[in-house]
């Protein structure tokens, strides 16, 4: 589904990603861990097409196509979804309007008709239950004045509505209390299908108790310095990152 080869990316004149290789197949869950500032969010944003980052070398192939050649909205329309580490507030645009606009754009890209408001309301009802979100949040402006946890839940709601093929969750667990964590994880798990895949960026093993990864990667200094199975996360929890870093800091 996704093949990243030797990916280098810079912001301004700072090189952040320094040769990432990562392959994700349909049906898989990959966890990306690593110290602060190692480039995890940058990787996620580059996949989503953030204009602040320039890809200086390497390729990203998504479903056989050159992902880097696509505009961000095309990537989303093709099934890529990024749950932001810091979801953006958009005062003046209601959550419901925003979600319906996004949903219809994605349907349009798939050659489907726009959904009528009634059916969309039904869909929303159902998906909001999945993340146990208060329906009142729908009429509020996107993320505006939401608590940290509400913002993260709202990201998962968007994911539940847009049903991506490849979801990248950037620290969706940070700032969630244990109940919210379970709700969010259940949401993610119930959206899992054999034909989609998930990349979870996290600092905490506890999320991985709920969303069980097939692979765990450690990102440090802009490179993947170690990959393994889910037991690698436990090892990191125990030992920290130091033992992996020597070779990484060039």
């Amino acid at each position: 589904m996704l093949e990243i080869k030797n990916l280098h990316a810079t912001a301004g004149d700072k090189e952040i990603l320094r040769g990432i290789d990562l392959t994700v197949n349909a049906g898989e869950v990959h966890a990306v861990m690593g110290p602060n500032g190692s480039g995890k969010s940058t990787l996620a944003q580059v996949l989503a097409g953030h204009p602040a980052y320039e890809v200086t070398a390497g390729t990203v192939t998504y479903e056989g196509e050159d992902l880097l050649a696509m505009d961000p909205e095309v990537r989303a329309q093709q099934g890529i979804f990024l749950a932001f580490q810091y979801p953006v507030e958009i005062p003046g645009v209601s959550n419901a309007y925003f979600l319906r606009a996004a949903y219809n754009e994605i349907r349009k890209a798939r050659g489907e008709e726009e959904i009528d408001p009634m059916s969309f309301a039904d869909l929303m009802d159902e998906r909001m239950k999945l993340v146990e979100m208060d329906p009142a949040m729908l009429s509020r402006s996107v993320n505006t004045g939401f608590s940290g946890g509400e913002k993260k839940r709202n990201e998962i709601l968007q994911m539940a509505v847009l049903e991506p093929k490849l979801a990248v969750l950037d620290e969706t667990d940070s700032g969630l209390d244990i109940d919210a964590l379970r709700i969010v994880a259940n949401g993610v798990n119930s959206l899992k299908r054999p034909d989609n895949a998930t990349i979870v960026v996290t600092h905490y093993q506890r999320l991985l108790n709920y969303i069980v990864p097939d692979f765990v990667h450690v990102l440090a200094g802009g490179r993947i310095v170690r990959s393994g199975g889910k037991e690698l996360a436990l090892e990191l929890e125990e030992k920290g990152y130091d033992w992996l870093l020597e070779g990484a800091v060039a």
């Binding site: 989503a48 909205e73 979801p87 507030e89 003046g92 645009v93 754009e105």
Partner: protein, 434 residues
């Protein structure tokens, strides 16, 4: 040019100016004297630093003649918010038009009449307040307006009376019989614990370089609440100067919104004086400009007494070569301890040539106060644009939505639902393709 107004004044004075009492005649006389002495302000005047009124000052304006054809109710329909049961006074080219107006269903204790009738029905009230709330001594345009005091709306809401339905004062200009000026003068008085919503609309029914110069004097009594909306949607070549001057008594509330989108050159002054304890004033506004438009707002909040709050949020979207001005003055007098004031001005520039001069002006003479202000000028937020695109929304739709949202953020503070929805719809349409 000053001379043309002096001539016009002579004419109005000699034909009696529709049966005004003596005190009104002498008020006019002293106002024209002031006007002559003041002359038009130049950009050297601090209050007019960013706005040149030369286009107005250099033209000759007679009083607007009645339109070539009678204005019909159908023509007003786009301006009446689909409401059929509001209390409405309509003025055409500055003249009250009874056939287009309706005041039926007004509760007892409420008087809503044109100024000419107010001289008979509310003689003491008009004598007490006219020309007293909006000081003309230092203000050219207020002096000019007061010199031509002849027509306008007078509203009096008695003690503890609540007017449930909105009161709409609709001023339309139809320059079909030649450009000219109208100088409406309004008076709104709410007695103790009264409550009302007043909408002042200014709109053009045809293009022409006409000039509206309006003054509205407002008195909000003890514990009274006035919601006041001023909507400036004049024709593209028109000039508009509008002053709303409010005096608030103890525990009174003013909720004011100024929407300005029309006219080649416009200046809106919103002034309020919080003269008693426990008052609140909310002054919000939205200006939308394009082409060569010049849109100026000046607000002034005088905190005279302690324990009052003021909230002010003005936003603007400027495109083309439009020039916006926002000058927000907040004065906290020495006695006004525990004043809580907040002022914000945000302007979105959609083009390289659009510009805004924003000048917050806080002058605080009390020591125990909480006053903040902030202004931003910018383009659409790239992070928000990316966030929307990352959800599949194409770049153009994202821009349109964000532009609309910028305006909607302040439009949604309008509580009057018909006006809010109409302005939201018009703004959405203006900034989106569909």
């Amino acid at each position: 040019m000053i001379e043309s107004y002096l001539k016009g004044f002579e004419q109005l004075a000699s034909n009696g100016g529709s049966a005004a009492p003596d005190w009104a005649r002498s008020l006019r006389l002293s106002a024209i004297t002031r006007f002559e002495a003041l002359g038009f302000p130049t950009t050297k005047n601090e209050d007019w630093h960013f706005t040149s009124v030369a286009p107005i000052a250099e033209r000759e304006f007679d009083l607007l003649a009645p339109p070539a054809h009678r204005v019909t109710a159908a023509q007003l329909e786009p301006l009446t918010f689909g409401a059929t049961d509001w209390h409405t006074l309509v003025f055409v080219n500055g003249r009250y038009d009874a056939s287009l107006s309706s005041t039926k269903g007004l509760p007892d204790g409420v008087t809503l009449v044109p100024l000419t009738r107010a001289y008979e029905e509310l003689p003491l009230l008009v004598e007490q307040y006219l020309g007293k709330v909006a000081a003309y001594e230092g203000q050219t345009f207020t002096a000019l307006n007061t010199a031509f005091l002849d027509d306008g709306a007078v509203l009096h809401v008695g003690r503890e009376v609540e007017v449930a339905r909105p009161i709409h004062l609709l001023f339309v200009s139809d320059p079909s019989a030649g450009a000219g000026t109208s100088q409406p003068h309004n008076l709104i008085v709410l007695d103790r614990s009264a409550k009302a919503t007043v909408i002042e609309s200014y709109a053009g029914l045809g293009d022409g370089a006409y000039f509206t110069n309006v003054v509205t004097e407002v008195v909000v009594g003890d514990g009274a609440t006035l919601t006041h909306l001023k909507l400036q949607r004049e024709s593209a070549q028109a000039y508009h100067v509008g002053t709303v001057d409010v005096r608030q008594a103890r525990d009174s509330h003013l909720v004011q919104f100024s929407f300005a989108t029309g006219a080649a050159l416009s200046r809106t002054n919103i002034y309020t004086e919080l003269r008693g304890e426990g008052c609140g004033a909310t002054l919000n506004g939205l200006y939308l400009g394009d082409g060569e438009q010049h849109i100026d707002h000046q607000t002034r909040i005088e905190h005279v007494e302690p324990n009052c709050y003021s909230r002010e949020h003005y936003k603007g979207i400027l495109d083309g070569s439009a020039h916006g001005v926002f000058n927000g003055k907040v004065f906290v007098h020495p006695a006004a301890q525990k004043t809580d004031g907040k002022q914000t001005n945000n302007t979105l520039l959609l083009s390289e040539k659009a510009q805004i001069d924003t000048k917050p002006q806080l002058e605080i003479f009390a020591d125990d106060v909480k006053c903040t202000h902030g202004a931003t000028v910018g383009r659409l937020d790239e992070t928000s644009l990316f966030y929307m695109k990352s959800r599949g929304i194409d770049a153009r739709t994202a821009r349109e939505l964000l532009t609309y949202a910028f305006a909607a953020d302040v439009l949604e503070t309008i509580e009057q639902v018909e006006v809010r929805e109409a302005l939201e719809a018009a703004t959405l349409q203006r900034y989106t393709e569909h």
